[in-house]
Symmetry: C2
């Protein structure tokens, strides 16, 4: 048992408080009774916790919602106070940089998306991101005191230590703790995450992964990555780099990959590989987006390329299904928009290669959040990880509650 205080009454209260917040995160606007039903706690307990949260300014009354009231006393609606915290998300891509600021209810307050030149260097990237964060925060008119922190998504392995691993997309970034740099530059706390993991977080919270016990988010873009979510929690593995499906060996004698392996999936089916292959055979300079739009328009070579990519990806996904046996696979990333042009051969491959029970258990669907999945995930990363910061605020919160409550049954030791 490594938890520091689990088992105590305090931790029980804390987990119940977190549960109420989670309920409001999911329900949006709700009455205390609804929260009680959702959490399984009694109305009295919920009432007590909500009183604390109100005093702490985490929750606010929401006068009325215009909902048709049923028989009985009309509920007093509450919701998370959007103004209680601002989370910033930063998403680095191969050629784009996106930044968004959102409140606790996940409403996006301001957002920026800029194209940046390929193969930009890390320093430039960080600088530009910092500038953009400042712009976005200014646009959102957020109280700077309320900014909880910044979530930063990178397309490559992110080790638990905070060091970025070698990546096919951002080769120059390896080996340095760039999150710290951004944190220093902005004076804000920064959480770092792999882009596929962040996409998984987002799709699992608001998108196609909701309500599953185990699902995998597959990001098909310039590179190929995956994020594994188990029981609503991201599974990151020992070092934080779980989900690197792009380096599944498809052919032991294949092309040497940047990762040091041979015949990795990425060398066959990543956006970069497809574009390179078609550019070569066509003699013109294509990128993934062009391939996708031409395929949609009916270009046979581009369709064929997607079909083969789907099959190749399907082999790796079949392996994944055998190993992880997920309930659902959510496909996102720019190539995910190819729809069934890519998904059908992928499904076919999985059906042929995964063991029958695993193939039957899994459902392969496109993502619901589109190209903003990673960005939303970066925001979610802050909201989830900064959530426990409320427990840091808890003493103050309880004092506030005490001051508010006349019959101060709750008191704080020191």
């Amino acid at each position: 048992m490594r938890e520091e205080d689990s088992g105590s009454l305090r931790s029980l209260r804390e987990s119940n408080r977190e549960r109420v917040v989670q309920a409001l995160r999911v329900l949006g606007v709700a009455s205390r009774a609804e929260v009680a039903r959702w959490t399984g706690l009694s109305r009295s307990t919920v009432s007590s916790i909500v009183t604390e949260l109100l005093a702490a300014g985490i929750v606010v009354d929401r006068a009325d919602d215009g909902r048709s009231s049923s028989a009985g006393r009309p509920p007093a609606l509450i919701a998370l106070d959007p103004a209680a915290g601002i989370a910033v998300g930063v998403d680095f891509g191969k050629r784009h940089l996106a930044v968004a600021a959102a409140d606790l209810s996940h409403r996006i307050l301001a957002e920026e998306w800029v194209e940046i030149p390929e193969d930009y260097q890390a320093e430039e990237g960080i600088d530009q991101a910092a500038d953009l964060v400042e712009t976005v925060l200014a646009d959102s008119e957020a109280d700077s005191e309320r900014v909880l922190g910044v979530g930063m998504g990178l397309p490559g392995p992110v080790h638990r230590s905070g060091v970025v691993g070698s990546s096919a997309i951002l080769p120059g970034w390896a080996g340095m703790p760039w999150a710290e740099r951004l944190a220093e530059r902005l004076g804000l706390r920064v959480w770092l995450g792999n882009d596929a993991n962040l996409g998984a977080l987002a799709e699992g919270t608001w998108g196609a992964g909701r309500g599953t016990g185990a699902f995998v988010y597959l990001k098909l873009a310039t590179g190929i990555g995956a994020g594994i979510v188990i029981d609503g929690k991201l599974f990151e593995g020992a070092g934080g780099t779980a989900g690197e499906i792009g380096h599944t060996t498809l052919d032991e004698t294949g092309e040497i990959c940047r990762c040091g392996g041979r015949g990795c999936l990425e060398t066959y089916a990543a956006g970069a590989a497809i574009a390179r292959m078609l550019s070569h055979s066509r003699g013109e300079d294509l990128d993934v987006d062009m391939v996708l739009s031409r395929a949609a328009a009916g270009d046979p070579a581009c369709r064929r390329a997607l079909l083969e990519a789907g099959r190749h990806i399907g082999v790796a996904v079949a392996n994944l299904c055998n190993l992880v046996n997920p309930e659902r696979i959510v496909v996102g990333g720019s190539m995910g928009y190819a729809g069934d042009l890519l998904l059908d051969p992928l499904r076919e491959s999985v059906g042929l290669r995964a063991i029958p029970s695993a193939a039957e258990d899994v459902e392969i669907v496109p993502g619901e959040l589109g190209e903003r999945a990673e960005l939303l995930g970066a925001v979610a990363l802050v909201l989830h990880d900064a959530g426990p910061a409320w427990s840091g605020r808890a003493p103050a919160m309880q004092q506030a509650a005490t001051a508010e409550t006349k019959t101060s049954r709750a008191r704080v030791r020191s």
Copy 2:
């Protein structure tokens, strides 16, 4: 939130009680103070819980352990009452059937291991297992009232529904809920598990997987399977069939595998495949054990076969490391005994093919429990899953505690 009663005081007590039991499971014989330190609970809480457990007969005093006492009052040692429950484990292999009975402290009371003809049918297997369970229970002189249940391990995918999937080892078993049959025959509750998962459970509890955040048990025998343990809990996936690494596609154009795929790892490197290959080239009928002993004796062809198997397995394990990023991989199963003859090429393969950070994070070690891993895991399955049965007994337990305690501060409503 689906838990029925989590968040309440009762559930807190229950989880603390379970924690104390878990501490005793791990520590064996211990003082209350040691348990308090291990669990992080206060001495008073532990004392109170232990009083309950003593009254319920789950825990007993262990007069003295002959341990050299340090300065201070000598501890009053306690331990789980071995007589409080008996768990039976059944392990089906390709050519063997093993049954063991163990007490709560995991001491094996009786054990049987019989060779059975290859390709035995399911009905025969179940019958023979039932007979053997009865023999073992008789040998162990166990009070039949105290038998908690039977854990049953099968070498093939076991779906959550209880239906056995198609397996290369037990082809005739697919599609039927054999656990129910055994349960009816014995009049005992039966838990069903995949053999690799059970091995993982065992190695994670007592063997080479202890203390890891995420580890994988790799069973290399007639077939190849894996069990994934995350935070001490078995990860089984949506349908309960996670870990089927044996059907990783190594070559899309390879031999057709029993599972319906092509070029699966098992067709290259499973014990059955190696034996078949060598038998063919030698013109004599070899089985895995013979290959292993000859390799150990220096036979070059057998050594070569193991080397190549190791490399092939390494490819699939590298994929697994990329996806799951485990901290450790524990290799068991009969082929695991080949030691570095197999593990060195396996490690080499992983080093070459897994992404560097994942390869650095992982440690590949042989299992510590040998051929009994699966059997012990079957026992552990019962002890873990029947553990919560104590909560069913909890009311009685509390009444007992009340009767025992003079100043009965604890009371029970109904």
